[in-house]
Each structure stands twice: as structure tokens, then as C-alpha cells.
């Protein structure tokens, strides 16, 4: 049986002004999974909870087959985390932080470390406190990738990275996934990149997973539909059908065709004029704005 890389069940965490969950999330093995959502939707909180940064109120988390609390050490040997909020400045120099982190991981990949230091141009003598934001992100990525994890969790990994560094990063991630059957969970706002590289997408809004599926399926089943309503009256309001614009008797809606096939729309009295493919960003906007309106 193929154990999921990450399996979250019924996860809940309540704050004063925000509640996460109940959240069920399954990240399949050997994939790049993109977790996307508006600011404050609970992405970083979810990732933090996997690593015990804050206690969950309910639910269970298993990563790389290990319970994140009971088998914390085993889990963290197999799953590593990079986030922009993590700072290594207290370790002084790049050349001091790396051996320190390396000392925790028996499977540390020295060859990869040397390669990434060269590609990212991270000078071991450089003080971390004086690194640019992008260079700090590169260091954080290096420290998460070199332990040779089965599962790599990356929160906003491309923030502050130049295009060359982004390309290096995604090439390395693809190599890890394709050649070594590892798993990457990425939370990011760079939707165009996720559209190219991620196998699966999960959309988080208001603390809940509102849409999930393979990237191909998600993009394939959503269409921008141009329609008119000869009978007049109010435009339909229903899940999976989000009207973006309405003008001179014609309307545009982002439609989930798996929920509303063209035939069912026509049965509701709509005349369909055209259907066009959508980028992930437009699908994301339609789904999250509908969620916001519902909330």
C-alpha cells in the first residue's frame, strides 16, 4: 500500500480571530503538491502545525508515515521545512549554520550542498545577518534540501528569488521528485510556476480546503463560459458557477464543468456562446472570491 507523504485528518486550530479547519489534506507520494490560498487563509499555520510550531486543537497529522507528535524525531528526519520566517542569523556565518544543521541529519547530501552553495553563490564566510532577503531564502532552501528528506515542505520558497535562482530551485525539485521519488509540498502565491510544476493543487480559503485535485484535472474542468439568459431574471448563484462579468445581456462565468456540464446549464435556460480554458490564477480567483462571498 502506498502511504501518502502527508496525511492530515480533521485538523483544527483556533485563534482569536481565525480558525483553521476542520482540514483534511492528502499529499500523494512522489508528487509536487501546491497549496495555494489568499493571505491569512491558513497555509503557513497548516505547515507550522506539521512541525509542532503550535499545538493542534483536534485532528491528526502523519508525515512520511510517522505521527508528527509521537514519532517527532523520525518524522523530522524524513521531512524538512523551509519558510521565510525562519531565520538562521543567530548562527553567525553561513559556514557555521550549515555544519550545525548538518549535524542533525545522518543522510546529509554533501555533494548537493556544495552544488547549491555554488549555484546560489552562498559564501561560507558571509555573515547571515548581512545577507540579502533572497540570499537568506536560498540558505533556508539549501538547509531544507540537503538533509535528503523524503518530503520537503516549502513555504513561499520563491519569495525574493531572482529568475535564475527560481529556475535552479524548480529544476532541483523536479529532479528530487522524478529521479528519487521524493515529495514536495509547496505553499506559494506564484501560481504560474505552480501551474507548470505542481502535480496537485489544493486551494485553502478561510481555513478550509475548498478545492483539490490534480493540476491537469483542475485546469481541465474549469472553463470561462460566455452565456446569455433569454428568459431574463437573476443570474444563477450556485457552487462551481461564478459570474465574473455581466454586460448587455451577455455574461462571463467561471464554471466547474464537472459540477455543471454544458447540458445541465442549457437545461437551466442558459444559451452558451463560448468556452475558453483558464490559467490557474483565474480559477483560483473565482473559487476564493466565491468562498469569500459565501462567508
Amino acid at each position: 500500500m502506498n502511504t501518502p507523504a502527508i496525511e492530515i485528518r480533521g485538523l483544527r486550530k483556533a485563534f482569536a480571530k481565525f480558525a483553521l479547519g476542520p482540514l483534511d489534506l492528502t499529499v500523494p507520494n512522489g508528487t509536487i503538491y501546491g497549496l495555494i490560498g489568499p493571505n491569512g487563509s491558513g497555509k503557513s499555520t497548516t505547515l507550522d502545525l506539521i512541525f509542532g510550531m503550535g499545538g493542534r486543537d483536534a485532528g491528526s497529522i502523519r508525515a512520511a508515515g510517522f505521527d508528527h507528535e509521537v514519532q517527532e524525531r523520525e518524522m523530522k528526519l524524513a521531512v524538512t521545512y523551509s519558510s521565510p520566517e525562519t531565520s538562521f542569523a543567530a548562527w553567525g556565518r553561513v559556514g557555521l549554520a550549515i555544519p550545525y544543521v548538518r549535524s542533525f541529519y545522518p543522510a546529509w547530501d554533501d555533494a548537493l550542498c556544495r552544488r547549491l552553495m555554488e549555484l546560489f553563490r552562498l559564501d561560507p564566510d558571509e555573515k547571515i545577518g548581512t545577507l540579502s532577503f533572497g540570499a537568506r531564502t536560498k540558505l533556508s532552501l539549501l538547509l531544507a534540501m540537503c538533509p535528503g528528506p523524503q518530503v520537503l515542505v516549502l513555504d513561499e520558497p520563491t519569495t525574493g528569488l531572482d529568475p535564475e535562482a527560481r529556475q535552479i530551485l524548480f529544476n532541483e525539485l523536479l529532479r528530487m521528485v522524478q529521479d528519487e521519488n521524493r515529495t514536495v509540498l509547496i505553499s506559494s502565491h506564484q501560481l504560474s510556476e505552480l501551474e507548470r510544476f505542481a502535480d496537485h493543487i489544493g486551494i485553502l480559503a478561510e481555513g478550509r480546503l475548498v478545492c483539490e485535485g490534480s493540476t491537469v484535472d483542475l485546469i481541465g474542468r474549469h472553463r470561462m463560459v460566455e452565456f446569455s439568459q433569454p428568459s431574463g431574471g437573476a443570474l444563477p448563484v450556485m457552487p462551481g458557477f461564478h459570474v465574473r462579468r455581466s454586460q448587455a445581456g451577455r455574461s462571463l462565468a467561471v464554471v466547474d464543468l464537472s459540477m455543471h456540464p454544458p447540458a445541465s446549464l442549457e437545461a437551466r435556460g442558459l444559451n452558451l456562446h463560448s468556452q475558453t480554458e483558464l490559467p490557474l490564477e483565474d480559477i483560483f480567483l473565482a473559487i476564493t472570491s466565491q468562498q469569500k462571498e459565501a462567508a
Binding site: 486550530k13 485563534f15 499555520t45 507550522d48 512541525f51 509542532g52 510550531m53 503550535g54 499545538g55 517527532e72 524525531r73 523520525e74 518524522m75 523530522k76 528526519l77 524538512t80 521545512y81 519558510s83 520566517e85 525562519t86 531565520s87 538562521f88 542569523a89 543567530a90 548562527w91 553567525g92 559556514g95 557555521l96 550549515i98 555544519p99 550545525y100 544543521v101 548538518r102 549535524s103 542533525f104 541529519y105 554533501d110 550542498c113 556544495r114 552544488r115 552553495m117 555554488e118 553563490r121 552562498l122 559564501d123 561560507p124 558571509e126 555573515k127 547571515i128 545577518g129 548581512t130 545577507l131 540579502s132 540570499a135 537568506r136 531544507a144
Partner: protein, 443 residues
Amino acid sequence: MNPLTLDFVRRWKWLLAVHFAAVSAGWIFHGREPQARLHLEIAVAIAMSWDLMRGYVRGQLGLPQGGAAIAAGLWWSVVGAGAAVQISAMLLGGFVLAPLFGMEADPGALGLHAVLAVLMLGTAQFFLTGLPAAPPRTLSGHLKGGFFGLMWGLSMWGFFALTFIAPAGWRDVTPGQGAVLVLLGSCAVASWFTTRRMMHDRAVPVRGGTPAKVHGLAVNQVPGGTVWRVRLLQEGRWFLPVAAMVMLAAAFMISINWHSIQSGWPWRITTTDYVYRSMGMLCVMTVFPLLAVSAGTLRACRGFPVPLRHWAMLVALRPFAAGVLVFGLFTLMVWAVSRSSVVEGRSLLTFLPLCSALSLIQALMLRHPRLPVVFGLLILISMLGTLFPEMLRHFRPSVPWMLAAALAMLGLSCVLHLRWLGRGSRIYRLNQGILRMAGGAQR
């Protein structure tokens, strides 16, 4: 009023209110009790240092105002607002409230101390402007940063100590004290000019350039060796500078006190009392940097494959171990200078419960890493550091009782660290500021 100064007063009004209340209450008794001539201006300078750590200057530079106006605003926030609060509180306590309590006002003392307030604030601002905005990259940068860091640290104690050592009025000022006043005045004047320079330093913090090519230093060539050696070296990196900093301050204090004893000054403190009275300051100087290290590194450390209970124990034991080390060395230094029995041996054990209390207070700070809570707990530590040994000396608890109390508090602290580091999430998402010093916040 400069809009920056107005903004500073608005944001720190609660601190200024406490400052005002404490100073005016103290100065009611200034005619009879020299120790009532409280000087707490340094709190205003510390507030400004926290603003700077949060990247306040960079935020201001984006707004439509000139550099000169910003620098002037920063200077007036510390020297102007601080002096206004201090002097008005002194006048309220000394002139208005003192007669209500049947005390006499001493205009000479009030005048001298009002001038002192301005000079001390200017000097504090001068030291503040010399602190490095980013980790120094050259030897001269290290030396300059070290000097100003030391002077800034010492000023926190030194200005408070002026309460005890400042002369009662202008007529009592000795030539040596006059020279000190001139020195303070020079620093205060210089601070006006260095504030502008500091603003530019902080606006464009030093950044290391990206090298054209990294000649791949293999990480296994980086000094380190065995796993435990690497980790112990890292602990030493955080631990030893704290101990060294506290020891430097302690050496400074001891030498002044010893000089005062030799000179027969009226405010001298006996050696035994001196050790006890110093505890509060030593506690704050010890626990705060370690708290900053713990808070700034927790997020990274929780990602490592180490169970929570191990980190919790390590974090909980750090202030305890540092406290024992610092107090032990301090007592040794006092003994070395005075060549006499410093405190009775049994009382030395009071260090243990006190160090356990440091650990316990750190747990509270990690649970509530907000500025007012941290500030309040630092005040509590300083009071505890003075009151706790006095209480123990008064009640004379048995040795086993003290050991049991120390162990019980340390155990409770470990449990609280374990619980709060496991449950709380705020400590892992610190905003830029006071507790992010070790995590790379901008100064």
C-alpha cells in the same frame, strides 16, 4: 512638535506614564533620602532602541519628509521627551507633592538633577547612535561596535546608579564630578550630529555582496568535527558572550564600588549587601540576551529532528546555567577585590532558587512574547533579584529547603516550557523587534 516625536510619545505613552509616576513618587522624599532622587530616563532611550530594532528608520524614509527632520525627530524623542517627562515628574514630586507629605524641597538638587537628566539622555542617545546597524565586517567595526555596545549596556546601570552617587547640589560638585559633567555634555552635543549619521547607517544597512563565484568550501571542511562538538560550540557562541558582557559590567561596578569604599563616600554599599543588590541587574543582563537567543532560534530549531522535550529542557536550563555561572563568577570577583568573606556560604545557595526563578520567568516570556509583558517581567526580575535573597536571608530557610525550592521551580519551569513551546504558536511567528535580535532583526 516634530511629528516623529509626537508619534513616539503617543506609542510609548504607557512607558512614559510609568516613568513619570515612579519619578514623581520618588522625588517627594528627595530632601531627606538621596536614593529617592530617581533617574529612569534610560527607559526612554531603551524604547527608542527597540523602535530602531524594528526598522523604524527605514519606514520613516519612505514618507515625504527630509532626513534632517527625521534625525531631529529621533533626537527630540529621546532627549526632549525623556527630559520633559523626567523634569516635570521631578518638579511635581519635589515641589508640589513634597510639601503635602511634610517634606522640604531642595531647589539646588532639583536644578542639578534637571541638568543631569538632559545630559544623561543626550549621552544615552550618543551611545545608541554608535551601535552597529548590521553585524560588523571589519576589525575597526568590531571594536567600535564593542565599545558602544559596552557603553550602552553600562549606561543602563550607570545612569540608574547616578541616583546614588550624584551630588546633592551645585555646591557639592567636586572637580572630578565637574569633569564628568563636561564629558556628558560633550556626548550630548555630539549626539545631535551622530543621530543624522545613524539614520543613514540604518536606512541602508550593510549587505554582503553576492560573490561572482563561490569556490565551494566543502561543508565537511568547515570547522566543526563531531556532532556534539558542533552543538556545544554553538551553545558557547550564545552563552559565553552573555557571561562576558555581564562580567565586564560587573567588573566596572565592582571597581566603582571598591573605589567608593576606599574613598569613604557616604553612599558606599557594604560588600555583602552589594552582592545582593547587584543580583537584580545581573538577572536582567543574563536572562534577556538568552531569551532573545531562544526566541530568535526556536522556529529553526523546531524543524530539526529533535523531540520537543529536548528543546524545552535546553531552553529552560539555559538561564539557570547562565545564572549560576554569572553569579558564581561575580561573587568570585567581589571576593578577589575585597579579599574578605563576601557572603556567608549558606546564603550563596540563594543563587540556586533565584536562577530557577529566572528560568520560570523566561517560560512566561516565551508564552507571552509581547513587549509590555516582557518589559513587566524584566522589571519583576530586577525586583526579584533584590528582594528574593533579602527574603531568604530574613527567613533563613534551611539548605535542604533552598535546594528543594530550586529543584521544584526548575522542574515547574521545564514543564511549562514543554507545554507552552508545544501549544503556543505566537513565539514561532515573532514580528521584527525586541525578541528578534538574535533572529536577524534590523537595528
